[in-house]
Symmetry: C2
């Protein structure tokens, strides 16, 4: 990892540029598979599952029996861990619900909002090297709390047609209503168009590789909402002399092991800390089972030695990290000044792993600078807000004249007339 | 308007099908203009403004002097009306802000969310037949309340290079920071890529024609967020015998005058009401200045005579109207059962015009069935939520073991190690 000394904010834009992926080549593949699924339905899903997952499926649904058997094969300890995580995730996401506040904006004019769960949501859980059952918890728990009626989980089958036990158990634990053995572009296409055996969803959630990301983007063209665009995972640590370099190095490595395209960044005003972290990285990386992946990720990653905290905060907000660890003597002040980040971990005993699994916050977060405009997944991502208004006669009397004037100025006499006719009767 | 008697929910899907617009032909134009603006910057913006708006501009920004002059030319009555509307919109949107709730999910594990305004937002205000200054209020007021630092309004210039006085005044009233004379695809492209004179935005808001809609969809591919996809405006009225047919007809017409592709629907269990509304439509439409537009819209529109309220509610939720008027003896019960709608107007004295201008709710709402997955514009549309967590030693001790177990089960030993190293020290 290279150390940069006192880079300007503009220089940081170049230094911290995310590895660029050209998705144009992928796009034509995605469009073709979407087209195929739209026309051929289940047959296309079977075809692509055979090609990409190497398995011929007669049935996409996971049976209740398979879920029961899987549950028996998850260790009691891991079940307890998931139960604790579920409890914390539930508490935090429940706290995001809002009460109905009826506001009298003018006398006799009452306005309020009510939240409704999105009826059918699709949760995408990647397969691949690690079975990410924790993402099942992060998506299904708020979906259930939000009142979504159908919570359908899509995940690619293994070559023997099965799904990892932990994913099935987590799905059952968190109230997933159906589990579909489908992955990749074909899964997103099935959620978008629906087929004879799979009904289309209103919104698609969850992480995935580049193919899944491009497919989710294409789904929005067909009127399906998505949680957010996704990119490789990333962590920025801001640490001053109050930080423990051993912990900082372990956090950077925990992020680096995600994938070779992960990006980890340390920003610090303390040059001693930077060199201690550098040494620790070398020591700790050797013990990792995913050492090679972490090494590749570290080669994309940067250590920034900054002159002042103010500069550091500017750099952080411009970079807009997915995960941000803040270890600083004045941590509260720093946190207040953070405007762009997905999730923030405060102090020496708040590793990113805590939020990845069990603190209660959501780990589905905006990467790639998207935290400038997107929130991470939370309760409201699974709901939509409906506004209501009820005017009494008095209410319409109070604001009717203003409506008439504004409607007339916009040349919309029908709008004016709807008020005038009523005012005549009051 | 055709009357349909007792259609099933499935039949209603066909009856209430929105007029389909094939946007494929538009798409290539949008891609080309985007490409041009990306490469040629301001020169491309000038070129397309000359082509589409018929005016050669040297400068895209509206000067403070022009805004002052425009303000002097808005009538005091209209200014008062806008001030009342602003007050109500402010009250309602302010009520949507949430306090910071610190939740202790496990002892020593504190999680909370904080909202931050999106830094740079672009508000698109269409030109065209009616100068929609009310949309300026609906977008700029919550943007300002949300804490957005740059609120940049884009609107197409008239052939003489000017902007309607009312739009400039509303922008000034509501805290817009800059006004740009740019419309159509080129405006959305400028917001997406930025040019020498215009900086790119983080999120694009506002309605527009098909070109603008397709351009906004394309913008998301370049990592710019949008409020929601848009389609032609629509109103569904649910009315029983408690409704006044004169009012109902005026509401249907107020929506019909928006554009020839607007859709208006009446659903009622009362066949007498339906025929009275039908008669009233014929009488009232003759008085409208936009009669021809309204007539075209009515030709797309439907009167549904249903057998029961239950059926009506199913039809409404399946259609997911942008605007819904509920005039029913048991209005509270009906409202509780509405799961998909943008904004709901309750009772005989709550015309849609009230929400369009001055009740306080937002009029930027999901059309085309998007209320199944999208909310209308509200305060949180201009913010993103950052989650925070702080664990004490005790906190990590309480959940650390669970994190270790889950990380290990996912094969992420670096994640586990970040916890283990800390637990050793506690």
């Amino acid at each position: 990892m290279k150390v940069f000394k006192n880079p300007s904010v503009a220089e940081c834009n170049a230094i911290l540029k995310r590895p660029y992926n050209n998705v144009d080549a992928i796009e034509s593949t995605v469009i073709q598979i979407f087209d195929d699924v739209k026309r051929q339905g289940d047959n296309a899903l079977k075809k692509y599952t055979a090609i990409f997952d190497g398995v011929d499926l007669n049935e996409f649904w996971v049976s209740p029996e398979d879920i029961e058997i899987a549950s028996e094969n998850v260790s009691p300890d891991l079940k307890d861990a998931m139960t604790l995580a579920k409890s914390n995730i539930t508490k935090f996401h429940k706290s995001q619900s809002s009460e109905i506040k009826k506001i009298e904006t003018s006398p006799g004019v009452i306005c309020w909002s009510e939240q409704r769960g999105i009826e059918r949501v699709g949760l995408y859980i990647p397969g691949g090297t690690a079975p990410l059952f924790s993402t099942v918890l992060m998506l299904a728990i708020p979906a259930k709390l939000a009142g979504c009626k159908e919570i359908i989980l899509f995940t690619p089958p293994k070559a023997d047609g099965s799904i990892t036990n932990e994913i099935l158990y987590a799905a059952k634990l968190c109230g997933v209503t159906k589990i579909v053995k489908l992955g990749g572009i074909q899964a997103i296409a099935a959620m978008t168009f629906g087929t004879a055996s799979i009904s289309k969803v209103n919104k698609i959630f969850g992480p995935g590789n580049q193919f899944v990301t491009v497919a989710k983007q294409l789904a929005t063209k067909y009127n399906v909402a998505i949680d957010m665009p996704a990119g490789p995972s990333e962590l920025l640590v801001y640490a001053d002399k109050s930080a423990n370099p051993i912990y900082v190095a372990s956090d950077l490595l925990s992020q680096a092991e995600h994938g070779p395209d992960s990006q980890v960044v340390l920003v610090s005003p303390d040059c001693d800390l930077i060199s201690e972290v550098k040494d620790q990285l070398q020591i700790q990386i050797k013990k990792l089972s995913r050492q090679k992946i972490a090494e590749k990720a570290l080669s994309n990653s940067k250590l920034l030695w900054v002159e002042s905290q103010e500069e550091a905060i500017q750099i952080i907000n411009e970079y807009a990290p997915e995960h941000l660890i803040v270890c600083a003597t004045n941590e509260i002040e720093v946190c207040e000044k953070i405007t762009n980040a997905g999730s923030v971990f405060v102090g020496n005993f708040s590793p990113e792993s805590a939020g990845d699994y069990a603190s209660g916050t959501n780990h589905t977060l905006p990467t790639n600078g998207f935290s400038k405009s997107y929130s991470g997944v939370n309760l409201s991502a699974f709901q939509k807000s409906i506004s209501f208004q009820k005017l009494s006669k008095e209410g319409l009397l109070n604001i009717g004249k203003s409506i008439e004037l504004m409607a007339e100025a916009e040349g919309l006499m029908g709008h004016k007339n709807a008020v005038s006719l009523r005012l005549k009767d009051i």
